[in-house]
Structure formats: structure tokens, C-alpha cells
Amino acid sequence: MAADLLAAPGGGRDLELVGITKRFGEAVAVDDLSLRMPAGSFFALLGPSGCGKTTMLRMVAGLEVPTAGQVLIGGDDVTTTRPYRRPVNTVFQSYALFPHLDVLENVAFGLRRRRERNAEQRAMAALDMVELGPLARRRPTRLSGGQQQRVALARALVNNPAVLLLDEPLGALDLKLRRQMQVELKRIQDEVGGTTFVHVTHDQEEAMTMADTVAVMNAGRIEQLGPPQELYDLPRTPFVANFLGRSNLLPGTVVEERDGLLGVDAAGTRLLVPADRAVARSGQVLVGIRPEKVHLVAAGADEPADSTVLGPGTVADVSFSGVSTEYLVDVAGYGRMSVFTQNLGAGPGAMVGEQVRLAWSPRHAFVLVGDAPAAGPLEREAATVGAAGGTGP
């Protein structure tokens, strides 16, 4: 019912960015970026703060003009079109609800500016869709964060934009509410149909749960783009490997290729990786393996058949987090490795100081090129987020 009112003509067009560059003085915020987001898709721009994702969004909204390049919506060049003439609406990070107008008038604002008929009924329908109908006459300042967020969403969606931009829309909500809104947003996107959702976030879990396509941005460029599972399973750069979840990266040299497997010599151990999971097939590379794909093998126990084995190493730290336990294992010559094991109730795991070996199936390994990112606070933060999300896929 609500969706009928919203699904007026106009919704759902491709959004295309062609060679977009944005400079602020000397600083390059977005660097020669090209993207195509098909009509009706849910697209997430994921990256650390300062990576240029919000600037990207503002250029689509028309709040910034690119230094070079084009923004196309449904094939029309809107690069220099003023924000109020674009079929694009935004849910701002701060929500930016008008404090002097009540909730209903906030939602009706865009319709009234375009002199649309039934502005009030349509605004009411949009409020019903986000389940806020009863609060229509409240002032936004009297609503909770989650309610304000939904008003902002209704205010944008009621205009039936071709593209809906979401700028960290869930950032100010607590964890539980955020989960709830993630599901809600997906439902609403299905309901309105056709509108392209572009969601900017630094929360990898949020991006993966909601989006059909995730683009990981770093330093003004897109590092990798694809469906969430694909990105997680087969990262193509060290940055993605450690921003989207977390990876153990072992430097080595490719020494052979046989039967579709690469052999990489890493500090004396031969690590096998499927050739089709490698970015490069020769020279200096990084072998990556996700922590939850690694098994701990106690001293004396047999390792699983056909697996790559590393170690022995010493367990340096054990941290229990409910569904899983993380072990940090120091392996001479390789540094500190991270291992997640699910808590299946199979007795106590390894203890600190214990000698263990690490084993994994070669089909889970991947090969990247580049420097392993230095362990900074950012990586640690990504790692802790990864610990929660790492059990899922």
C-alpha cells in the first residue's frame, strides 16, 4: 500500500561515475574513479574514514562538483546539475531533520517543493512505511535516534528518487538498533523497488549484510568491487584482505606451478595455493589465509590430510568471545598468526604457552601482491570487528 504510493514513475535508474577526480587544494579526495551501479541495486561504498567515500556521495548528491569526470544518472549527465534539480535524495549522517517543522512536514518538504499533489497523504504513507505514523505531529527533537533515522529515511524515499544516498545512516545508533535497522532497510529497499541505494559506511559487517555489491575504497580509489561473499572469500589486495575481515599474510616467493597449484616458498615452508586464487603467479607475493580457516593441531595429533602445515609455534594469547575463541600463535620465522575456532563444546582448546601446529586446506589460501599493511590501530580495529563477523561466512 505504502509502496504503491511511492512507486511513481522516475524510480530506478543506473548511476554511473566516469573518471571522477576531486581535489581540495593539494589533497586528492577521489582519484580517477569509475563505477557503474545498476538500477535497483543496493550498493555499499566501504572504507576507512578519509578514504573519499563521503566526498563521492556528495558529488552524486550535487553538494560537491568533481574536479574532473562525469556523473551520469540513467544516462543523463548531471555532473553540474544543482542538488535541487537531481532525482537523488540523501539520508544525512546527522539526519539533518528540520527542527522547526514537525515530522510530517519534514517528510512532506520535498513533495511540497515540487508542488506535488497529495503531499500530506503521501508523506503519511511514507511515515507508515517506517512505522512512525502515530508520531507525525511530533517535533523531530523529541524523537529517539532510531526514530529520527527513520524519519530521515522516509523524508528521502517519499520523493521516489532514482538514487537514494545513505551517508553512514546507522552510525549514531547502538548495536542492537543498528542490526534491526539493517534488516529494516533491506525490507524497505525490496518494498520500494527500483530505487538504487548507495550506502556509505566504514562498518564492513553492515556493508556485507545489506549490499548486493560492495566497493572497498582506500585513499580515493576503489580497491576491489564485487558481491560481499566474493570479496571476503577472495580479496585481491592486502588492504581488502585486512579491512574486510582479517587475514594472516605470509610473504614468500613463487617457486613452481603444477596441476593448477602454485607453490610458494615462505621462510622455508612450501605453501600451496590454487593458481586461480592468485593475483600473481611469479615473484614476491603474500600468501593469505583467513583466521577461521586455520586449524590448531596439538602436539602429537595428526594434521588433516592434504593440508598445509606451519609450525610448531607457541600460543601467546587466548581470547574467548562467545561463539568463537581467538588464538594468537607465534611461529618462528613467520611472526604472529591469528586463529579463530568455533566453540563447539569439544573441550578446552590450547592454553597459553602450549606448542601447536597450524593447518589449513590449500583451497582456502589466496595470493596477493604488495606490502602487508603494518599493524596499526586501524588494522586492530578492523580485526576486532572481523572477530565478530568472521564466524559467519
Binding site: P83, Y84, T90, A96, L97
Partner: protein
């Protein structure tokens, strides 16, 4: 709260505040009391109680004339300074332009210049231009010294607003003009009103600058100052007390209404 060292501040501070308020309000109480004095020409010592002064506030020569002048001047000055000052405040907050710091300095200087210097400078200017001081020159002077205060007050209001509100308006199909009148201006209105009230009270109460640039025109403060030597009529006390009471009443009614609205909103 129950810690012993806290009790000192707990009781001493409110007592101190009460004493400060007595200091602040004693002359007003005195002025109010002597507005009921059946004083004749010089209202220096208490004679006997009367309502006459309140019944006939224009009874003394030139009192009401000076009040009318003061109100008229304050209205013109408020209008002029609020319009000019609000425009400057908007430019300062919403736009980037060259000479920003020079503009800030130009706004700060009149506030940092003693009134006697402002008054003397303007008078020198008017004499130079062979303009006779009077009603118009007072209005010109008042607009000048009120502008900076208006700018600062309106700017304070702008700074509390989410800068994304304007962007949100333009994202929702409002052209810059519509965004201004539908969003920015209504949100600035409380700040503009506060600035206007400030300008009015500054203008109404000004004496020093006015005295330099008034020629033969009397304002209420000037009337009181000039008549101080030969005795101030009790009607002046009536005017002063009435202004005080009106201001008190207006603000209190506003407060009560706001409190009611708060209570009603919470009850919902």
C-alpha cells in the same frame, strides 16, 4: 552532596547570590518607591504616598516627549541595525570570502571603543559635514554601535544550527532562495529576535553617545541626566519603573508559556 566540604559552597553561594541581587535591585526598589512620592518639583526626600504620578505620567513637562523620542529612536535603530547586522552575520557564517578577518576586526572595533570616543568621533564628523545634530544623527549613531552586537548575537544562533540543514533543503528540491526562506530564516528567527531586543535595549538606555549627537533633541536618559541637577520629577521614576515591570512581565510570561509547553509535551 553530603560530604562536609561541600556544605560550604552549598549554603554560602546562594547567600552570596542573594546579597548580589540586593545590590543589583536596591536602586530599582528605590526608584519604584519614590515613584509614589508626592514630591512636587524635586523628588529627593520622602513626603507622602500618592497614586498621582502613576495616574498622570506625562504630568511633568518634557518627560513624555523624551520617552516618545527614545522609543522612536530605539525602533529605528533596532530596525536598521537588525537588518544590516543579520545580513553580515549570514555572510560571515555561510559564505567564504576575502577580507574575512578584516571584516571581523571592523565589527569588533566599535565594541572595543569607549562610548565617549564613539560619540566624540561622530560629533566631529557631523560638525565637519555641517550637519546639525538631532533626531536623525542619534538614530545614525545608534545603528552604528548596535550592528556589531546584532552580528555577534545572530552568529551565535547560526553556529548552533546543523550546517547540513541547508544541504538537506537543497537535496529536497529547494532552490537556494526557497531553502533560505523555508529553512534558514525560520531557524534564525529566535536569534534575530534576541538581537533586536538587545539592540532596542542598548539604544533605549544609551546616554553618552546620544548626549554627543543629540543637539536639542531630548531622549529619556538625557532628560533624566539634565534634570538631575535641579531635581528629577517623580514621573521619571514612574517611567523607569514601568519599563522595568513591562520587561519583567514580558519575559516572565514567555518563561511560563515555555514551561507549560514543556510540561504539556512531556505529558503526551
Amino acid at each position: 552532596m553530603s560530604r562536609p566540604q561541600f556544605s560550604l559552597g552549598k549554603y554560602l553561594l546562594p547567600v552570596y547570590a542573594v546579597v548580589a541581587f540586593i545590590y543589583l535591585l536596591t536602586p530599582i526598589a528605590y526608584t519604584f518607591a519614590f515613584s509614589f512620592n508626592n514630591a512636587g518639583r524635586s523628588n529627593l526626600t520622602w513626603q507622602r504616598f500618592t497614586w498621582d504620578n502613576w495616574r498622570n505620567p506625562c504630568g511633568a513637562p518634557a518627560v513624555c516627549e523624551s520617552v516618545v523620542n527614545s522609543v522612536a529612536i530605539a525602533l529605528f535603530a533596532t530596525l536598521g541595525s537588525t537588518v544590516l547586522g543579520t545580513m553580515i552575520a549570514l555572510a560571515l557564517v555561510r559564505y567564504r570570502f576575502r577580507f574575512r578577518s578584516a571584516t571581523n576586526l571592523l565589527l569588533f572595533l566599535p565594541m572595543a571603543t569607549p562610548e565617549v570616543v564613539l560619540g566624540a568621533a561622530l560629533l566631529a564628523q557631523f560638525l565637519n559635514l555641517r550637519v546639525n545634530p538631532g533626531f536623525t544623527t542619534i538614530v545614525i549613531a545608534h545603528i552604528m554601535f548596535c550592528i556589531s552586537f546584532v552580528v555577534v548575537t545572530v552568529k551565535a544562533r547560526v553556529a548552533t544550527l546543523d550546517p547540513h540543514l541547508g544541504e538537506a533543503a537543497s537535496d529536497l528540491y529547494a532552490s537556494p532562495r526557497v531553502a533560505f526562506w523555508r529553512v534558514t530564516f525560520p531557524l534564525l528567527l529566535p536569534g534575530i529576535a534576541a538581537a533586536a531586543m538587545l539592540a532596542f535595549s542598548l539604544s533605549f538606555d544609551d546616554f553618552i553617545i546620544t548626549n554627543f549627537n543629540s543637539g536639542n533633541t531630548d531622549t529619556f536618559p538625557k532628560f533624566v541626566y539634565v534634570s538631575a541637577t535641579r531635581g528629577i520629577p517623580a514621573q521619571a521614576n514612574v517611567i523607569g519603573s514601568a519599563m522595568f515591570l513591562i520587561a519583567l512581565l514580558v519575559v516572565l510570561i514567555g518563561q511560563v508559556l515555555a514551561a507549560r509547553r514543556r510540561a504539556a509535551a512531556e505529558a503526551r
